[in-house]
């Protein structure tokens, strides 16, 4: 009986989502939201019991709060009739997913998401929405067009989503224990030592900033080691006796940057080339537009082309 409970919770959440999709704004939609959130909360509680007790309750509770905000905003996003509100709710989704990322220790990812998604992509979306709406709103003032008001077959859409969710729930609740255990503290420490030994400049700066009397060797490689669970730089001071200076572990960004350069150089270069091509494409397209505009202006003002061609030759 216990094995079937997560699926029942999924079904309750799906019914809530369906209610929100087909109901008009009003109490029915609010009721659907309450039902859906209750089902999801039940599902998350069951998943929490699955992993057998958490070490840090605060982090887990914060993660759950961010997760519920993200899910509620995502539902609002697909339920809202005006696309502009959808885009704004998507910003809320991105923000709360970033909070969840911080709880998952992916600090660099969180900040990159805020800058790239909330800062760049969403602004582009808003521009497109504003420009497209101007054109479509001219015939019906203030009315929401029918393609935004009436959704296309919400029942089968929710059915497909529920099927997918059931697969995810099955995989999460039965297969999670088969996964290999996460890296323990010792493995992390070893990885930090290896990373710091391949970043000699960072270690040099770190040791110099402590102000300890130490002679830094020409090659800094292999001078960092883990002692008693702490990272230490071992060197010689000006008198000649051995000295061990504690160094700070590499940060999240160091890990990301190093793994990008050391493990995926081809992908990095490819991404750079593709971005460069996109930039060239943008420049070429924009330039052609401007030329057309100038010609049109010349025609409209009735000036003959001789002036233009003369000035062009002058500039060349």
């Amino acid at each position: 009986m216990d094995a079937i409970l997560p699926y029942i919770a999924t079904l309750i959440a799906a019914i809530g989502l369906l209610l929100m999709l087909i109901a008009r704004p009003g109490p029915a939609r609010v009721g659907g939201g309450v039902v859906g959130l209750a089902g999801l909360a039940w599902l998350f509680v069951q998943a929490g019991a699955l992993s057998g007790g958490v070490e840090d309750v605060v982090a887990d509770v914060l993660f759950l709060i961010f997760a519920l905000v993200a899910i509620a905003a995502a539902v609002q996003m697909i339920v809202q009739q005006r696309p502009v509100y959808s885009a704004l709710f998507f910003v809320l989704v991105v923000m709360s997913v970033c909070g969840a990322m911080v709880m998952l220790e992916a600090f660099f990812m969180a900040f990159a998401l805020v800058i790239v998604y909330a800062g760049a992509i969403l602004v582009t979306y808003m521009f497109v929405l504003m420009l497209a709406q101007q054109a479509s709103d001219s015939d019906s003032e203030g009315e929401i067009p029918s393609y935004d008001r009436i959704s296309r077959d919400p029942v089968s859409a929710v059915f497909v989503a529920t099927l997918f969710m059931a697969i995810v729930v099955a995989a999460t609740f039965s297969g999670l224990s088969d996964l290999a255990p996460a890296a323990d503290g010792q493995a992390r420490l070893d990885a930090d030592v290896a990373l710091l030994n391949s970043l000699p400049e960072q270690v040099r700066r770190d040791v110099l900033s402590t102000g300890v009397d130490v002679v830094l060797p020409e090659s800094m490689r292999g001078t960092v080691s883990a002692q008693d669970g702490e990272l230490r730089f071992t060197g010689v001071d000006s008198v000649g006796s051995k000295v061990a200076v504690p160094v700070s572990p590499p940060g999240n960004t160091s890990h990301v940057g190093w793994s990008l350069v050391a493990m995926f150089p081809v992908s990095l270069e490819l991404a750079g080339v593709i971005l460069l091509m996109a930039m060239f494409g943008a420049v070429v397209l924009a330039r052609r537009e401007v030329e057309h505009a100038e010609e049109a202006l010349a025609k409209a003002t009735g000036r003959d082309d001789s002036e233009f061609s003369e000035s062009k030759e002058d500039s060349e």
Binding site: F63, A74, I78, P83, Y147, T162
Partner: protein, 61 residues
Amino acid sequence: MSMLASETFAAVSLAHALLLSGVLMAIGMAGFLSRRNLIVMFLCTELMFQAVIVAMVAFGR
């Protein structure tokens, strides 16, 4: 900072992160299938990208 972080934040369970990812993916899928506005459909694919990112980060720990 990362020493401190790995001691403070090491408690979020993998099951919760995977469920968040799955729910976001399902909502994005439902939105993609039910909405008829092209721009909102693209927004729904972005929502599914978010779900993929959450899953990757969860497994990467």
